[in-house]
Every structure is written in structure tokens, then in C-alpha cells.
């Protein structure tokens, strides 16, 4: 399987008081292209930390993250920002839509950020239709239910055709039905093989939906 991102002995520790807490311990793993990879583990196992490393949101204490042959540690801050802007998409547990914008405008914001060259309006409608929010696209973010907001967040994450979408506990704040709906969207996105999705979860039922599952225990990961 072609890999889009892989790590080499990735480690991360945080200073707590006078000591250092080792959150990730020399993790070496691969994220296959065009697949849904799930990082599973209980709370505190380091899955969000690992996701942040992979998404260039944070820097490792040691080790490497390599995306499409490029070591992230060698990239400047601006290059990492560009990476996140054009190549990656993010879905957060807290949804984190911009509250003063409508669903349409939240997606449009992502397209402006990504300097989308095509027909912005068409792309926005397409994404929102795909996630099932077509009829409520002009509603404000806080007028949508939790599940609907998360779907808009997914539309925002995918609008600019990213190569990788990182989703941190995307169903954590949702009910079961909404959670499955989100997973359904992820499955549809990976069907083309152009989008790779990496997500974290501690829900055992969702893990079965992933193509690749890594289990995180005490800072280490194993498939």
C-alpha cells in the first residue's frame, strides 16, 4: 500500500512540574493513502498528540514525520502553514465552526483560505450537499444541531480537496445516529482513493469501520 504519511521513532514529552511526561514513545507507523485510518485508545493514550504531530500542528520531541517524502521537521513554520492550508483538512471534536458565519460561509472561508481557483459557489454547494446540509446551508452555525454542525465541519475540511483529513474524535460529542452518519461520509470520501482520512476515537463500534486501526497504549502504537 502506498503510504502518504509515515513516522520514524516519533516521540513527544511534556514538562509537568519539574519532570517530563512521555506521551509518545518512539512510534513508527504508516498512514496508507486513500484509506480510513483509525487511531484508537482510551483517554490519555496520546492519540490526539499523535494526530497533532501528523497534522503539523505540533512538533515532536524527537523522531520524524514524513509526508509525501518531506520531513516535517525540515519545513519552516510558513511551509507547515501552507501544508495545513492546501494539503490537509481538520475536523475537531468541538466542531469549532466560526459562530458568526453560516454553514455556507464557514465552507467559503476554508476555500478563501485555500485560494480555491474554481467556482467557489459550486464547490460549496457540492460539499454541503454531499454531507446532507444542502437545505440548511444559510443557517447560522448555532442554529444547527450538533450532528449538522459536525457535517458542516467535514464539508469545510474537504472543500479545498485536501490530500489528508485529520479528524480528532469527530463523533465524540454526537449521538450514535449522527456518529454513524459522519462515518458514512468518511467512507464515501475515501472511496475515490484521493482523500486519506486519519481519525481518533475511543468508541469501539466505530473502529470496525476503519481500513487500518492503530491501537494506542501508554504512548506506543501498534496496528
Amino acid at each position: 500500500m502506498e503510504r502518504v504519511i509515515y513516522t520514524e521513532k516519533l516521540s513527544k514529552s511534556f514538562p509537568v512540574g519539574g519532570a517530563r511526561v512521555q506521551v509518545l514513545k518512539e512510534i513508527s507507523m504508516e498512514i496508507p493513502k486513500g484509506k480510513l485510518t483509525i487511531l484508537k485508545g482510551r483517554s490519555g493514550s496520546g492519540k490526539t498528540t499523535l494526530l497533532n504531530m501528523l497534522g503539523a500542528l505540533d512538533e515532536p520531541t524527537s523522531g520524524e514525520v514524513i509526508f509525501q517524502g518531506k520531513k516535517l521537521s525540515r519545513l519552516s513554520a510558513r511551509e507547515k502553514e501552507n501544508l495545513r492550508r492546501y494539503e490537509f483538512g481538520f475536523v475537531f471534536q468541538s466542531v469549532a465552526l466560526i459562530p458568526v458565519m453560516t454553514a455556507y460561509e464557514n465552507v467559503e472561508f476554508a476555500l478563501r483560505l485555500g485560494a480555491y481557483a474554481g467556482d467557489r459557489d459550486r464547490r460549496i454547494r457540492e460539499c454541503l450537499q454531499q454531507v446532507g446540509i444542502g437545505k440548511r446551508m444559510h443557517h447560522m452555525a448555532n442554529q444547527l444541531s450538533g450532528g449538522e454542525q459536525q457535517r458542516v465541519a467535514i464539508a469545510r475540511a474537504m472543500a479545498h480537496h485536501p490530500k489528508v483529513i485529520f479528524a480528532d474524535e469527530p463523533t465524540g460529542a454526537l449521538d450514535t445516529g449522527s456518529g454513524f452518519a459522519v462515518m458514512q461520509i468518511f467512507r464515501e470520501l475515501t472511496q475515490t482513493g484521493e482523500v486519506t482520512i486519519v481519525m481518533t476515537t475511543h468508541d469501539p463500534e466505530l473502529m470496525e469501520q476503519g481500513d487500518v486501526v492503530y491501537e494506542m497504549t501508554d504512548g506506543g502504537g501498534s496496528p
Binding site: N52, I98, L113
Partner: protein, 941 residues
């Protein structure tokens, strides 16, 4: 619970400090009020008393008994004096002011007397004054204590009586109708001529004219007259002069009541300061209301500040409140928690506020003009216990405004809080009710109404009434309505800006337009705050500057020069002939040689001249006799008051020895112009009749003159004057001006007392001139210095209050605006950490985030600041001219000019710009130090 509260305050220490600041300032402003009111009252009563003294030329605080007692009951002077002393002791029991002097006058109606050297009999009073000898200078002959006459009873007369009646030392005065038992008429011998000690001696508290037609005798002589010459009654006047500097606002009303009581109990009693106290009381009450009106905008801004900071705190504690409620805490319990928390802060603020209030009051009292302080004596503004309940009231109000936001939030359940359903939706009530438009219309209507009645209000002000306090609220109301209108219109402006560049805006401007445009309501309090602060600040600054500058200009115009003085002239009179000894004028040239003055000139001023032209006669003409060149080098006149420079008029006068300059109203009234002939005449020296209280005048010889020039304004020419008519109403009187060559006038009318006008050199001071005069023993009858006149004007109560309050309001609002601005934006950005984290996570560059912050500041803060400048400028143009008439109600040659003092705008904007830049810097650092992963985690938390 206390521990929880202290923990909460510690957790939000900066916000708590801001709240403490707001509460302290609120308590300070409130507690400053009584101290400033009573201090201003002290100044007001002193000014009223001094104005009385100047107007009436008598000591301003005198308790008197006047009457006539029968010699049957009071056979000698001692019995009368003893009776009067008893009354004095009674008065002192109630009015605890230090006595300055107690003076007793006893008099007998002498009657017509024949003088050994007089042609005709003249009427004389016979008087006795206690301790007279210590207050006179015997200029000829002997005083009463050493007088010895071989025949006749010794008496002394004043110089003015000597002049009037042509008496000499040694002359005998015989009263044929006052005879002793043997039928001998009372005969007096003038033993001496005396001069009253100078005006500074309080003993002579009455005007000199009071003592005309008097001969004065010793006490022994007086008793002898009463016992031997059958006088049936003794007139008495007892005057107890009180230390008026001890009359303060706290006791004035009490003294007034006691005086009324004395009047009711004793028909002979009078107090010359009763009317002054009544006028003062009326003005004092009006001034209290006016002070509240001046302080109200600042108080409201402070309450708004307290509310805004509390809102910020509660925005971040909404979840906590909802959790408490969901755990079973009742609304009352939650409210109690916050009331106690607010109470702690308010109590601390109250204590600090009293101290601040004291400093604010003393600071406000030291203002000479807007934002200008001097080292004035402010002992008339003492600490008063009344400050404490005022500070406590402010604290209670503060608690109310701090807990108002809590009340709304206690109604939210945790579910509602989470879903954000507690937020207000839709347009606010004021917007739906068009409150902005209504308030704007009201304020404009009030302005129109006042403008329509401005003449009537001006006359009321001239009559001594204080202005309606509501006038001072019109401009803040206008600015407030502008702020609401701004909130209504800014949404459309932002929408327009967003739409015109919608295809081109990058992510940062796109997000900012939406953020700012859709949170106008959330930022409404901050926007109103900014607009009110800046708008009212600019208006207050312009108002105060306009009033002060116009007042200074008018005073300078009225004076006409830096210094005006008149030396004591010796007058001689024989029969109808009067002449003067002119003091040496050349001595003043030493002032120019010594570098103290740049110019010194003689100016003859006579305000009782009649002018006739083309069958029209004008009274109230002020004549000035000048040396044109010296006058031009010495006097001062503002540019632009005449069609051409006033030097042209002087040149025209110089070219025509018999020429005159006349004022425009003379030309219009008499239909004359340059080249026409007019005639004018001075009035003969007046004589004052004490019985009739009238002056009698007669016109002297008429002079003809050619009109050399017509002017609208001239140095020292006050065109309008105001006085009361018989009914007590204030009427406007127009004065006319006639300026002639000094030499021509003197050649016709003879040498007469003139004023000396001086222009001070750059390093010259009035004190140097005064020292010069003192060294040469030059006594003065007039001394007027321009800076002192201007300072006296600015020390008038109305000016003092306005300058003090506007300065204080300006500084306070500047402070709270800066602090409020900083905390609002800091809280706002901290509350949006997740959003910034998401933006950064999505790949937004740091400079784009900074651009967002700057754009938000520009649209969210600088735009309202600009609106504030606009509102303040508009309020200035609409209201300042009209309101300045409250302070300068008299019509004047100088029209009111609005002063836009841009350095004040720069100061105000500069401070806010600095705050804005500091805010931008702090926010940038806040965002720069933010770790994306931590921001996202915060959001999840």
C-alpha cells in the same frame, strides 16, 4: 462562601481591579459632589459679598440698629450705647462670626446754622462716632481730643464738608434754634479739618456721602448738648461689622434665618447682607442642580463601565452559574453570592472613593481654565462628612449595576446555556422603537426651543439667576442619540464594504467583516462607551475652551489695555468753581525707560456726555480724550472688529484737531457720517443729595466737532450695559462712543482727572508698576489689571464649576475609556482562542491573524472613535454657541466664536491611539504565544 468569592476575585484579578477602579471613581465622583458644592458655595457667598461691597462701596457684613430714642428715656450717650451693646451681645449668641469692629454713631438734628464766614445758613447734623480719633487724619487745626476753644463747643468737619460749605478752621457755627436754659444758641467752633483714613479702613464702611453735612463732636460735648440744649431725641446707628470671610455655605442659611428672627423681634434691626444671603441661597440651590447636570454624563459613563466590566466577567462565568443552578442552587442563592462579591468590591471602592473624591474636588477647584491648573488657595473646599453617605450611595448603585447582568443569567438552565439560547436574538428594543431617531429629534428640538428663547434666558442670567440644569444635558443626549444611530447604520456600512470587494477579500478581511458586522449588538455597549467618551470629551473641551477664550477676549476688549489706573487728584472748589491739581504725568516715563512698560498714555474718560446731531440728542455717551499716537501704541484691539484697522480712525482723528471718532450706533441713530458736524457737551460735576438720594447735573458748554471716523469697536468701549429698571427687571442699554483729541477737550473744559493706561513690556509685571507707584507715594483711586480681571472672571462660580467639572469629567472618562477598551478587547480575544486556534490549524498565517486583529480594531473600535469625533464636532457646532450664552449672556462687540482647540482633540485621540496600539500589541502577543494544540484543547475543554 467568602473563600469562594475571594478565589473568584483572585482568578480574575485584572478584571476585578478594573471593577475596583470603576467603583472607586464612581464613589469618588459622587463623594466629590457635596465637597465641591459646599466649596463652590463658599466661593459663591464670598463673591456675592465682595460684589456687594464693590457695588455699594460699603462693608458687606454689617448688623445694624438705627433709630431714634427719646432723651426722656435715654438722657445721655452712655444709656443709648449700653442699650445697643446688649443687642450686640444677643446677636453674637446666634451668629458666631468674629466681630471686626463695633461702631456707634449718635446724632442730633442740629438744624440750620449760620456761619461766621458763610453768606447763607446751611443745614448741619451734629454727630458723634465712637473711637473716631483713631480713624482720621487731622489735616488742619486740631482733633477732638486735643481741641480747646475759648468760646463755643469744639467740633471738627471733614474735608468734603469743608469744600462743600467753604468752611475754615476757627469759623463759628451758630444754631439759633437750639438754645440752652438761658436762651443762648448752641455755638460751635471748627477746631479742625479731618480726612477719613483710606478706603481700607473698615471703620468707614458707609460711603463718604453718608457723613456729609455733619459736624462731629466729642462724647462729652454730645452729652452736654443733650443735657443743656433741650434736644428731645437722639438718633443712633449701631454697626457691628462681622468677619464676612467666616460666612460659609454650611451656615449661610442658618444666619439668614437668625437675621429674619432679629428683624421680626426688633424693628430697628437691619442686616445689609440679608439680601445677599437670599440671593446666594437661590443661586446655591440652582448651582447644586447644575452641578448634578454637569456630573451626570460622567456618572452614567462610570455606571456603564461598571456594567460592561461585570458583563465581561459574567460572560466567562455563565457556565459556572448554569452549573450552580443545575445543581440545585436557587436564583436567590446565586444572586446572594454575587451581591456579596459585589459588596466587597463596592466597600473597598467606597473607601478609596472618598479619598479620590477629596483629591478630585481639590483638583477641580484648582482649575483656571479647561485642563489648566494653578496653585490656587483651595481652603474654601474643606472635607465634609456629607461625602460619606454620598460615597455609600454610589457603592449601592455600583452593586446594583454589577448584579444586573447576574439576574438575567440566573434564569438560564445548563441546557439553555450550552445551546446559547440565553443570547438575545433579533433587534434590540431601542432599535425597534427607533429610540435613536426619537432622542435625536428631542435633542434638536430642545436646541431649537432654547435658541428661540435665548434672549429671554440671557436676560435671566444677567439678572443673576442660574441656568436650567437641563441645558447641560442636551448635548450629551444628542451625542448619545448619535451613538445609537451609529449602531443602526454601521451594519449597513460594513455590509456595503463587504459586498463591494466580496470576490477579492482574502480570508482575514472576509472573516472580520462578518465578525464585526454580525456582532454589532454584542459590542454595542463598547461602541456607545467609545462614542460617548470621545464625543462628550470633545464637546466638553470645546465648550470650556470657547467659554474661557471668549471671556478672556471680552475682558481684554473691555479693558482695552494691560493696566488702567488713576492717581488721587486734589480737588478745589470755591462756590461753583472747581479745579484740580494734576499729578505729575512725566514720572510715568520712567516706567518706559525702566523697561516695565512699552507704552503709557493719558485717557480722559467721561461717561456723562450728551451728543446732538441733526435734531437728535443722545444720552449715555462715553467720551474719551486721547493722544492718538500714544493711544495707538498703548491700547489693544482685536483684529476684525471694524471694517478697517482702527489705526485708520486714529490717523483720521490725528489729522483733525476738532475731529471725533464716533461709534456706529451714533452714526445710525443720528444719521451722520464722516465729514458731518455733531455737537457734544459734558455734564457739570454732580452733587449728591443725601435726603433725596439723587444726583443733579447740568450740561456744560457745547463743543462742535467734525466726524473723522466711524467705528464699530474701540478699546474700552462697551456698547451694551444692563441695569434694573424701577420694577426690578433687567433692561439693556446701549452706550455710545465719542473719541476726541485730549488737547482739544482739555482746552475747552479744563484739566480734569484722567486715567493712565499702560501697556506692559514683555518682562514687565503689574507688581513692578505697583512697587513703582508705592515708592513714589502715588495714591490710587483706580487700579485695574487685565490678567487679574481675567482671572477674577474665571474664578466666578459658574466658570469655576464648569471648568472644574469638565476637566474632571474629561480626565475620568479618558481613564475609564482606556481601561475599558483594553479589557474589552483582551477578554474578547481570549474568549475566541478556539477560533484563532482553528484558523491557525486551517493554515492561516500569523500575519493574516494579525491583520484580522488590526482590522477588527479598526472596524470595531476606530470606527466608533471616528463616530465619536464626528458626534462631538457636530454637537460643538450645534450647541456650543448657544450654550456659551449661559456664561456670557451680555451682548458684546465681540460675537461669540466657537473655539475648536485641536490640541485637545489630539490629546484625546492620542491617548486612545496609544491605548489602541498597546491593545494591538498585547493582542498580537496573546495570539503569537498561543499554541494551536493548546487552543484547540481549550476549546474542547
Amino acid at each position: 462562601m467568602l473563600r469562594l468569592i475571594m478565589q473568584k476575585l483572585r482568578n480574575k484579578k485584572w478584571l476585578s481591579c478594573c471593577l475596583f477602579l470603576g467603583l472607586s471613581l464612581l464613589a469618588g465622583v459622587f463623594s466629590c459632589h457635596p465637597m465641591f458644592v459646599y466649596g463652590s458655595g463658599n466661593v459663591l457667598i464670598q463673591n456675592e459679598l465682595l460684589a456687594y461691597a464693590k457695588e455699594q462701596n460699603e462693608f458687606p457684613a454689617v448688623l445694624s440698629r438705627t433709630g431714634i430714642c427719646s432723651t426722656d428715656k435715654y438722657p445721655d450717650s452712655e444709656s443709648v450705647l449700653k442699650q445697643n451693646r446688649k443687642y450686640e451681645e444677643k446677636w453674637m449668641e446666634y451668629i458666631d462670626l468674629d466681630p471686626v469692629y463695633s461702631r456707634q454713631y449718635l446724632g442730633l438734628d442740629g438744624g440750620l446754622a449760620a456761619g461766621s464766614l458763610m453768606d447763607t445758613k446751611k443745614f448741619f447734623y451734629i454727630g458723634m462716632l465712637s473711637d473716631m480719633q483713631e480713624h482720621i487724619t487731622v489735616v488742619k487745626g486740631q482733633g477732638l481730643t486735643e481741641a480747646e476753644t475759648k468760646e463755643g463747643l469744639p467740633c471738627i468737619v471733614s474735608e468734603s464738608v469743608m469744600d462743600d460749605y467753604g468752611l475754615v478752621v476757627g469759623e463759628e457755627l451758630t444754631f439759633p434754634y437750639s438754645v440752652d436754659a438761658a436762651g443762648n444758641p448752641a455755638t460751635f467752633v471748627i477746631a479742625g479739618i479731618f480726612r477719613e483714613n483710606p478706603n481700607t479702613d473698615n471703620y468707614w464702611y458707609h460711603d463718604r456721602d453718608f457723613y456729609e453735612k455733619h459736624i462731629f463732636v466729642s462724647r462729652d460735648t454730645f452729652d452736654k448738648l443733650v443735657s443743656d440744649y433741650g434736644f428731645s431725641s437722639i438718633r443712633f446707628e449701631e454697626n457691628l461689622l462681622l468677619d464676612y470671610t467666616g460666612i460659609d455655605a454650611a451656615h449661610a442659611q442658618e444666619y439668614e434665618k437668625h437675621i429674619e428672627g432679629f428683624e421680626q423681634a426688633d424693628s430697628a434691626f437691619s442686616a445689609n447682607f440679608k439680601d445677599t444671603l437670599e440671593t446666594y441661597e437661590r443661586k446655591f440651590q440652582s448651582m447644586r442642580r447644575m452641578l448634578w447636570a454637569l456630573e451626570l454624563p460622567c456618572v452614567l459613563l462610570l455606571l456603564l463601565f461598571v456594567y460592561m466590566v461585570s458583563e465581561q466577567i459574567l460572560n466567562s462565568e455563565e457556565g459556572e452559574i448554569a452549573v450552580l443552578r443545575s445543581r440545585g442552587a436557587t436564583k436567590r442563592q446565586v444572586l446572594r453570592l454575587y451581591i456579596i462579591q459585589s459588596g466587597i468590591l463596592a466597600a473597598a471602592g467606597c473607601l478609596m472613593g472618598i479619598l479620590l473624591g477629596f483629591c478630585m474636588c481639590r483638583g477641580a477647584a484648582r482649575t483656571d481654565a479647561f485642563l489648566t491648573f494653578s496653585a490656587k488657595d483651595v481652603s474654601l473646599y474643606p472635607f465634609t462628612w456629607r461625602m460619606i453617605p454620598y460615597a455609600a450611595t454610589a457603592s449601592v448603585l455600583g452593586i446594583l449595576f454589577m448584579t444586573l447582568p447576574v439576574w438575567r443569567r440566573t434564569g438560564l438552565t445548563i441546557v439553555q446555556q450550552k445551546s446559547g439560547r440565553g443570547k438575545e436574538k433579533g433587534k434590540p428594543v431601542w432599535e425597534r422603537a427607533f429610540a435613536d431617531v426619537i432622542l435625536l429629534l428631542i435633542s434638536v428640538y430642545l436646541l431649537y426651543d432654547y435658541s428661540r428663547q435665548s434672549e429671554a434666558f440671557a436676560m435671566k442670567m444677567i439678572a443673576g439667576e442660574n441656568p436650567e440644569p437641563m441645558f447641560f444635558l442636551e448635548a450629551p443626549l444628542f451625542i448619545f442619540s448619535c451613538s445609537l444611530l451609529f449602531l443602526r447604520l454601521v451594519k449597513y456600512l460594513l455590509l456595503f464594504l463587504r459586498r463591494i470587494g466580496t470576490k477579492k477579500w482574502g480570508p482575514a478581511p472576509y472573516a472580520v467583516f462578518l465578525q464585526i458586522g454580525r456582532t454589532v449588538g454584542k459590542r454595542s455597549i463598547l461602541s456607545i462607551f467609545l462614542i460617548m467618551t470621545i464625543g462628550c470629551g470633545i464637546f466638553d473641551a470645546n465648550m470650556a475652551r470657547t467659554v474661557n477664550e471668549n471671556s478672556r477676549q471680552r475682558t481684554a476688549y473691555d479693558m482695552g489695555v494691560d493696566l488702567r489706573m488713576q492717581a488721587q487728584w486734589t480737588r478745589h472748589r470755591v462756590g461753583e468753581a472747581v479745579w484740580y491739581d494734576e499729578p505729575d504725568f512725566l514720572v510715568y516715563e520712567e516706567l518706559i525707560e525702566g523697561g516695565i512698560c512699552d507704552g503709557v498714555t493719558r485717557v480722559l474718560v467721561d461717561d456723562e456726555v450728551e451728543l446732538s446731531a441733526k435734531s437728535r440728542t443722545l444720552q449715555n455717551v462715553t467720551m474719551m480724550g486721547i493722544h492718538t499716537r500714544e493711544f495707538g501704541e498703548t491700547a489693544e484691539l482685536m483684529e476684525g472688529l471694524n471694517d478697517v484697522h482702527w489705526f485708520y480712525a486714529l490717523n483720521a482723528l490725528a489729522g483733525e484737531p476738532d475731529g471725533v471718532i464716533i461709534s456706529r450706533n451714533v452714526a445710525e441713530q443720528c444719521n451722520v457720517s464722516v465729514g458731518d458736524t455733531i455737537s457734544y457737551a459734558r455734564c457739570r460735576d454732580t452733587s449728591y443729595s443725601r435726603e433725596a438720594s439723587t444726583e443733579t447735573t447740568e450740561t456744560m458748554e457745547t463743543m462742535e466737532a467734525t466726524v473723522a471716523a466711524v467705528v464699530d469697536s474701540f478699546p474700552g468701549y462697551e456698547r451694551y450695559e444692563y441695569e434694573r429698571d424701577e420694577n426690578g427687571a433687567m433692561v439693556e442699554q446701549e452706550n455710545y462712543l465719542l473719541v476726541g483729541n485730549y488737547v482739544t477737550i482739555v482746552s475747552r473744559y479744563g484739566i480734569m482727572p484722567y486715567e493712565i493706561w499702560m501697556r506692559l513690556a514683555e518682562n514687565g509685571t503689574p507688581e513692578a508698576v505697583h512697587d513703582f507707584l508705592t515708592e513714589r507715594n502715588i495714591e490710587l483711586t483706580l487700579w485695574s489689571v487685565l490678567p487679574e480681571e481675567q482671572d477674577a472672571r474665571s474664578s466666578e462660580t459658574l466658570f469655576q464649576i464648569t471648568n472644574g467639572m469638565f476637566t474632571m469629567d474629561f480626565l475620568i472618562t479618558l481613564m475609564i475609556c482606556s481601561v475599558g477598551f483594553l479589557i474589552y478587547w483582551t477578554m474578547e480575544i481570549q474568549g475566541r482562542q478556539l477560533m484563532f486556534g482553528v484558523c491557525r490549524a486551517m493554515g492561516m498565517h500569523m500575519e493574516e491573524v494579525r491583520m484580522m486583529l488590526v482590522l477588527e480594531q479598526l472596524l470595531g473600535s476606530v470606527l466608533p472613535m471616528g463616530a465619536g469625533v464626528g458626534a462631538g464636532a457636530l454637537a460643538t457646532l450645534l450647541f456650543v454657541r448657544v450654550m456659551t450664552r449661559i456664561y456670557l449672556p451680555q451682548k458684546h462687540n465681540i460675537p461669540i466664536k466657537i473655539l475648536l482647540y485641536y490640541p485637545d482633540w489630539v490629546k484625546l485621540s492620542g491617548v486612545l491611539l496609544v491605548v489602541f496600539l498597546v491593545c494591538c500589541y498585547l493582542l498580537k502577543r496573546l495570539v503569537a504565544n498561543m499554541k494551536i494544540s493548546r487552543a484547540l484543547k481549550l476549546g474542547e475543554d
